[in-house]
Symmetry: C2
């Protein structure tokens, strides 16, 4: 499959998607020209894929990659963990022309990218996403950062990678729960702007759940194409890019209230998508049939559409006050006028919001 | 005095320089339009100038500014201190359209700016420098960050302020030692590219040391003009901007080896300037008369030209290995071909380097 490009002028970069790319020595040599390289990974992904990456690298005759292994899990996505990465870069005397590689899911990518953004005011980094969620969403676009006890992703930087290498073979080891969580972000992309892709997902849900390589590769390619376009038109999220937050204001509230751990990010986003659709329907913007199609697809993919018993409406309301999308005191929500037609508004009916919290949370 | 501008496209910003600007309600209202404002200051500067700023702000009918008071001193310029600023912004539910103000010297500006760069992936900030060093140098150009035990300014971001307000009246309370440290950065600007300004400094050294308001205002204006030009042509330091590091590779080594505290940044830079000139002379690039003029000016300004007894050549050498200006394993140095003629090179004679360390350190 030919590489996609995220066109951002002198910060443009390729997205390579394919089966077995971690074993492609020529590709690695082209993408990793730096003098020294630190691979940031975690204690689950590292043992699975770092040896393969090292072997490919060694075959090119290069010195071993420095490995920085973090504890797995969203609850470790904190400033102290990033500080550990920075300490290791300092201890190994990394310079401005050296490179950081993120090998793992979204949490690893967010932290490795933020460390690269801050080290010596910015060194290069390459994303090698190994989860569906990271391959379809978080590895593209340059959003990096960590959580704060007060809110999700409150501390971070925009720092674009030099390249993204999505080896779809790594999805074969993905636990079913992580697969489903990633599929929530796939559904998000379709909902925002691609009704035909949404129909394709309805037709191919079983293939995706069965880890069919061709289906997964198509989904990754389609999502990256959509995201690359949005990011290139609005890198810093002053407009259109905010659409990519569909489901995320509600989803972040769920993650934050539950303490960044029990819910995977994609699981919370799945509920958030259902809430955005439900609220859009209540406001009279979304046909009931479209909301029903979404609920049905989420259910087929094994995703929850409510977080009752986990989050109360009151707690979610408080959490959303600190969302980054709050401007002038009122949260801007991404809502729907149809499948494939998302829009942003701060001018939504309060009762539709209240009723949605009441129905999906308790 | 009319405002200068740092021309950076849609991130261009004004530098206002003048006597009593912290009392100028119309200027503050024009520069601080945000919904909420956090003033980051320290326990020395805060009691001196925060009440004046609050009073001016209150006269405009605005709600009080939130104050975040840090401990004074370079040894507190660390990630944990920035984390405290972030905690306060989160606790007060600051949003993307709110603002951070840095009221203080270079340390306060570097940390407030880095916190603004990281909070919600970047919110606006305004520099209100109260030391000569910050007014002539660190408040302009968007370099923000903190020190790491392993090296100076190793962690940070490029994040341009929305405006710089340099109230030269604040220099009246500047301790003599801080004044001298700031003058080292003034000399640096002249040495890099402005021989006429260097001559002016020789003629006006006494006036500057006596805190003559007109002389100080001229020096601030001249340095900001030089720096705004360099930054606008090379914001991210891929070329010309590196010239502004004249004296800083040696200076940073002194600060780091002595533990970020006993030497003020400007004091270390003063020694660094003398070392850069001495090495340039040894290499045959700088006329001896020019090096002698520099030494004489530094001496008149009460600045040291060596750090004997404080830093050994060996320790300085190790510290310089982690300097951000190291590329491909060899440190790039800013050296001199004449007063007003700095240049960057990694191709310098090793014995000139060794002899310079030997003469100025022990």
């Amino acid at each position: 499959m030919p590489a996609l490009t995220v066109p951002l002028g002198d910060r443009s970069y390729p997205i390579h998607i394919g089966d077995g790319l971690l074993g492609d020595a020529a590709l690695l040599a082209a993408v990793l020209p730096a003098r020294r390289i630190a691979v940031v990974t975690n204690d689950i992904v590292g043992p699975l894929y770092a040896p393969r990456l090292q072997a490919t690298w060694a075959a090119a005759g290069a010195t071993p990659l420095l490995e920085i292994v973090l504890p797995d899990g969203e609850r470790h996505k904190t400033l102290p963990t990033v500080s550990r990465i920075l300490d290791t870069l300092v201890a190994n005397r990394f310079a401005r022309d050296d490179l950081v590689v993120a090998l793992g899911g979204g949490v690893v990518g967010d932290m490795a990218g933020f460390a690269a953004a801050c080290y010596q005011r910015g060194i290069g980094f390459v994303q090698m996403p190994t989860t569906l969620l990271a391959q379809v969403d978080s590895s593209v676009g340059g959003k990096t950062g960590v959580n704060h006890p007060g809110g999700k992703n409150l501390i971070g930087a925009f720092h674009q990678p030099r390249a993204v290498i999505a080896d779809t073979a790594t999805l074969a080891t993905l636990p079913p729960r992580e697969l489903r969580a990633g599929l929530a972000e796939v559904v998000k992309h379709a909902l925002i702007c691609d009704a035909a892709f949404f129909s394709w997902l309805e037709a191919n849900a079983d293939a995706l759940l069965a880890l069919d390589p061709a289906a997964l590769a198509h989904a990754v390619h389609r999502c990256c194409t959509i995201k690359a376009g949005v990011v290139s038109r609005d890198e810093r999220e002053t407009g259109e890019r905010a659409l990519l937050n569909l489901g995320h204001t509600f989803g972040h509230a769920i993650e934050q209230v539950t303490g960044f751990g029990p819910w995977l990010h994609g699981e919370a986003v799945g509920v958030g998508l259902a809430m955005a659709a439900g609220m859009s329907q209540r406001a009279g913007w979304l046909p009931a049939a479209d909301a029903a199609r979404l609920d049905a697809l989420l259910a087929r993919l094994g995703l929850r559409t409510e977080a009752r018993g986990a989050v109360t409406p009151q707690a979610a309301r408080a959490a959303m006050q600190l969302d980054k999308k709050v401007q002038g005191g009122r949260v801007r929500l991404v809502l729907l006028k149809g499948i494939g037609q998302a829009f942003v508004t701060a001018d939504w009916p309060t009762d539709a919001f209240d009723d949605t919290l009441q129905e999906h949370l308790a």
